[in-house]
Each structure stands twice: as C-alpha cells, then as structure tokens.
C-alpha cells in the first residue's frame, strides 16, 4: 500500500507514549487488548470511535518518551492506517516502521486541521493533502532503507528475508579498511 485516504484524529504536540498506552496496561502484549486502551489518557473516546483505515495527524515530537513498542502496536491494532506528524521522536519512528505501521513526517500538517478532516497521504512522495480544507503539504518520504523494511511488513520479516538470503543482514556503509584505533586501550 503506497497511499492512504481516511478521516483523521488530530492531536497536538508532544503526544508521548505514556498517553498513547499508559504503563498500567503494559502487562499485556496483545494488540487487541492494547488497542482497547489506546490514547485513553489523551482522548478517552478514541478506542470506541476509531475505524479501520482512519489516520492520525499530530504535531511535533509524536511518540516521545518511553521506548514501549506497545505504543505503535496499540495504534496499529486500533486500525490506524498511517500516522502523519510534524515530527516524530526517534525511538517511536523506528518502532513504527519495525512493526509495519506507515508514518510520514510532514511539517505544517496540523495547520487548520480539525478532527474528522479527510487526509490523503502518498508514501512514495511524502505529499499529504487535507482534502476537507483543500490544503497540501510536502512531507518527507521514508529513506529507501526504512521503506524496504516497511514494505517487507516490518523488521522481523525483513531480517528473516536477509537470513534466508544467507546475508545475515546486509552490511550497509562504505569502505572496510582499518577501524579507528582506540585513543588508549586499557588492560
């Protein structure tokens, strides 16, 4: 899937993983159970109103805080097709791609946005349209390497594929000459 269209839940800045899925629910690792409590400290109606294919549109620093992968698992489990945010916290960014949840970083995307607006998102180009308000934004597509992981369905299928190819997973990068010497080495 390279493009999405859906109505959006719109949130502000610094939506941290503690509000996406509070610690009191971290004793579960089941997506369905986590989805039932998704966003409950921020938007108590989220879990009961979300429909498969809906989108999340949010401000700066989405997913900050704890590394709990339960957060993208809960959002994906709730049926959200894609998250567009002005920016993402880095651990959440990795985790979303690793669990196969599409995300696009798109400065300005919350401008004029209201809950329920319909957005169109193109993963390839990173362009995002608020169809309800007739606004378009240029987001940043995922780097090809991360897109490859997303297209594989997440990091585990990607690793399985590389292992099968006998290439335990590819080394990326350039030259492999002398690694830097320690400035001092202690015994």
């Amino acid at each position: 899937m390279t493009s999405f269209e859906g109505r959006a839940f719109v949130y502000g800045e610094n939506v941290d993983t503690d509000v996406i899925i509070p610690a009191r629910h971290l004793t579960s690792i089941e997506a369905d159970e986590l989805a039932r409590h998704c966003m409950e400290d921020l938007d108590p109606s989220f879990a009961s109103t979300v429909r498969p294919g809906d989108l999340v549109v949010a401000g700066r620093n989405f997913g900050s805080g704890s590394s709990r992968e339960h957060a993208p698992i809960a959002i994906k489990g709730a049926g959200i097709a894609c998250i567009v945010a002005e920016s993402f916290a880095r651990i959440f960014f990795r985790n979303a791609v690793n669990v196969g949840l599409p995300i696009v970083e798109c400065p300005g995307v919350t401008d004029g946005a209201e809950p329920g607006d319909v957005f169109r998102v193109d993963l390839d180009s990173g362009s995002v349209e608020n169809a309800t308000r007739g606004l378009t934004f240029e987001g940043t597509p995922l780097p090809p390497f991360m897109r490859d992981i997303l297209d594989a369905g997440g990091l585990m299928p990607w690793v399985a594929r590389s292992l099968k190819a006998g290439d335990a997973p590819v080394r990326v990068g350039v030259a492999r000459d002398e690694p830097p010497q320690a400035d001092w080495r202690l015994d």
Partner: protein
C-alpha cells in the same frame, strides 16, 4: 589522535566506526553496527522474545552479550506481570543467558549494568528501554530501542543505525551548594527543548565535569532522551576510569575496553556553553521536563507524595544527599515519603551507612529496588489531583498514575527538603548546611561487593 587521511571524529563517531568495521563515519551515514551488549527488561523483553521466536532461530547470537533485567513490575504486582517474569526467566534458562538478574540480586538496569561492569567504555550498547542512553556516562555509545529492534539484535548481533550528529555541551564553573547532575541536565533540557536534540548525540564536556561524580554523570546521560536525543555521552576521564576499574575488580569481571576521545577539530551540529557555577537547584513543572526553573522562583505548591527513586536519582550520591537533610528530621505529616534505592548493591551500602534507618526514622517507606512509582506501574501510584515531587525523569500527563495528578521533577536534596516542609522547598529552607562536596560526590562512588548473579537455577 586522528589517523592520517581520516576525517576528525567525535567520540560517538569513533565508537560507531569501530563497531561498523569502517575507518570513518559521518553524521547521516547508515551503518550496520556490531552490538557489544543488548539489554531487555520485563516490559520490553517478553515482546522481543515473542518476535525472536517468530523468526524460527534457535539461539541468540551470543548469550554472554545479553542482559535481562526485571525491573519495572517487580516484585510481581499481579498475575500478568508474574507471567512476564516467567517468560524472561524461562528464556534466560533455555538460552543460557547468565546475566539475568533476579529480584533481590539486581535492580534498575541502567544503574545495574555499569555497577556490574557489564557496560564498559567504547561499547555499543542497545537497550530495549528509552533510558538506555544512561550508559553513555561511562563513554559507551548507548541508545534505547523498541522490542523488535532488540529481537533483531538477539538474532543477528547487529543493528542498523543512522550516525547521529553530535551537539557539544561545555560545562563551565564549579557547581554551587545543592547542585548536582540533575540540575545541570534539567537546565540543559529547558535550554534546548523537549525535542531540542532529536536524533542527535549530546556530548558533555568542560571543566565542570571534574566536579561531577559518576553518579551525577549517570543522571546527565540518563535524561538525554528527555531532550529527544539518541544518546548522551561523557568521554572517559580519570573519574570514569577509577569507577570502571573499581567496579570491574569488585564484580570480578576484568577485561579490556577501548577508550575513545573526540578529536579537537571534530564537527558539531551545535555547541552550548553552560555556566554550571551560576546554576541553582531546578524544578521541572508539570507536565514536561523542559519546564525547568530555579526552585527559588517556583510556587511553593503543597505536596501529597515525595518519591526518591528511579534510574535518574536513586544512586548512592542521591541517597546520601537526601539523608543529609532528613537526618534527625521527620517528613511533614501530610506527605507520603517513598525511597527506593536503584539496585540491591546500593540498598546494601545505604544500609551499611545507616541511610535506610535515617529514611525510616523520618517516616519514609523504604522499598526493595524497582522502577515502581516512576512509571505509575505500582508502589505509589497517584490519584486524581495529587501532587508528587519526584527525583525521576518524566512528569508527563498520567506518567505516575491518574492523568490529573501533577508531577514536579527535582534533585534528591530538593525532594528531601520538600518532604520535611510539606511543600516544594529549597534545601536552604530547612536550615541544614550544604554537605562537603567530598561527602556527597566522592569520586567513583565505589561501594561494596557485587551481588551474586547467574543464570536462574534449573527448575526444581
């Protein structure tokens, strides 16, 4: 030292280049790095174990390089968390993972692994917990990831990383009375913002470091994530080496390690000079760590609970500082005071020094090491509208319990003074003289013998 023809690099870039088998790396490069130590806790490891099993691989890449630390919901708070513990224990047994730290023999991972000399300078450490950046305090590259990344590391021993830009903080001056690492990092986060160092490595340098003990430096590195950073690092100096050597000796884990330093002409995305000498104790107001201001200027809010604990401020220096104020005093009757030492070893040393008795006599409850109240999991969850002054690292909405509870982040001296006064207080308000620097920030903070570790015994 820069090898001929190699671009000048920061300490972070050198560690990553070594781990990727490359002569040099630059910010933005995607690399595949060899991992020296991988860590999971009772929240993240069970998910990672499930993902690992999906791969159909039998064994982890190197059981000696894996550490599993139950910390968040221990002692098990309910049946569900007991099952998380069982999953980890069984996996450790089956995989021969020797660095599994059972209840009563462990503690909070970020303080435990350096204490046990498993986290060492120059390593690449990947932890499935956002505060895994803490190990940067000893000069390792260390970052937090999610469970799936950990599963991939368990399978392959490698992780893909984007080489971060480095931001340099030059700490100048001599910290004044009651000022410790916590105050420095809270003021830094207020300076750069909650996402001010997103995707970057925060490198702490400067003459003030000579006055910041290892325990204070762990706090500096610990809260890199609260500025959005990928990692925080202090290149090793004499203070680091004294600590690491002592811990290696006590833990019986003496082995070589690499010490890297930044080249003088290495490039930084930004540089900030911090006048530590001008700093007062700080408080971060609800509900963002970046809302830090001097305690002297903050409203004197009445508090329901004071929490001295977490991977941020429950080390020996922290407990000594709190005890310095609480000795011979009592917590205000309206305040619940909780003290949770970070590790078993710290608990034992605090016991030997009589600190636990000081806390108990002050009316505190003193618990076994656990994350507990820090994440609102158990052991001191807050109710609606309650106010908590905490030495932990996050004051987000709902972090420590109900979403209408309010959390203020402070250093341990401010927390102790607040407990005594029943409201947010500067330590000077208690009339206690500040401690001698050497009493609190004794270099290296070495203490006692290591606790016994080892693979969980075979089931009976």
């Amino acid at each position: 030292m820069t090898a001929a023809g190699v671009r000048p690099m920061t300490v972070t870039e050198k560690i990553l280049a070594r781990a990727a088998g490359l002569s040099e790396v630059a910010p933005g490069d995607l690399i595949m790095a060899d991992v020296d130590l991988a860590m999971g806790n009772d929240v993240t490891a069970p998910v990672a174990i499930a993902r690992f099993r999906e791969l159909g691989i039998e064994n982890v890449w190197d059981p000696a390089k894996v550490a599993l630390v139950p910390s968040h919901f221990v002692p098990a708070k309910d049946i569900a968390s007991a099952k998380l513990g069982m999953t980890m224990r069984e996996f450790a047994r089956q995989q021969g993972i020797e660095h599994y730290f059972e209840l009563g023999r462990g503690g909070i991972e970020h303080i435990l692994l350096p204490e046990q000399a498993l986290a060492l300078p120059g390593m690449v450490i990947i932890g499935a917990d956002s505060h895994s950046c803490t190990y940067g305090a000893i000069g390792a590259f260390s970052t937090g990831v999610g469970s799936t990344d950990l599963a991939a590391v368990l399978a392959t021993g490698r992780i893909w990383l984007r080489v971060p830009e480095s931001v340099r903080f030059v700490h100048e001056g001599v910290p004044g009375p009651w000022v410790v690492g916590k105050d420095v990092i809270l003021s830094v986060i207020a300076l750069v913002g909650d996402d001010g160092c997103s995707y970057q490595a925060m490198e702490h340098t400067g003459p003030a470091l000579a006055h910041l003990s290892m325990d204070s430096r762990f706090t500096l590195a610990n809260m890199a994530i609260e500025a959005g950073a990928k990692s925080g690092i202090v290149a090793p100096d004499e203070v680091t080496l004294a600590y690491v050597r002592e811990r290696q000796r006590l833990a019986g884990r003496e082995r070589e390690f690499d010490v890297f330093a930044s080249d003088p002409d290495a490039r930084y995305a930004a540089e900030h000079v911090v006048d530590v000498g001008a700093l007062e104790p700080q408080v971060s107001l609800p509900s963002l760590p970046s809302r830090a201001e001097p305690v002297s200027q903050a409203d004197r809010v009445a508090v329901d609970q004071v929490f001295i604990g977490s991977c941020t401020n429950a080390k020996l220096e922290d407990l000594r500082m709190a005890a310095h104020i609480l000795r011979g005093r009592r917590a205000d009757p309206r305040v619940r005071l909780m003290v949770i030492p970070a590790t078993q070893e710290i608990w034992r040393q605090a016991n030997r020094e009589g600190l636990l008795e000081v806390f108990a006599q002050a009316g505190a409850t003193v618990s076994t090491p656990t994350c507990g109240a820090c994440l609102g999991g158990h052991m001191g969850v807050l109710g609606p509208g309650e106010v908590c002054v905490s030495t932990s690292n996050r004051n987000y909405v709902g972090r420590m319990g109900h979403r209408e509870a309010r959390v203020y982040l402070v250093n341990p001296a401010v927390a102790a003074a607040t407990a005594v006064m029943g409201r947010l207080a500067h330590p000077d308000e208690t009339g206690v003289e500040p401690p001698e620097e050497s009493v609190i920030t004794g270099v290296g903070a070495s203490y006692g013998e290591p606790v016994g570790v080892g693979a969980p015994g075979d089931p009976p």
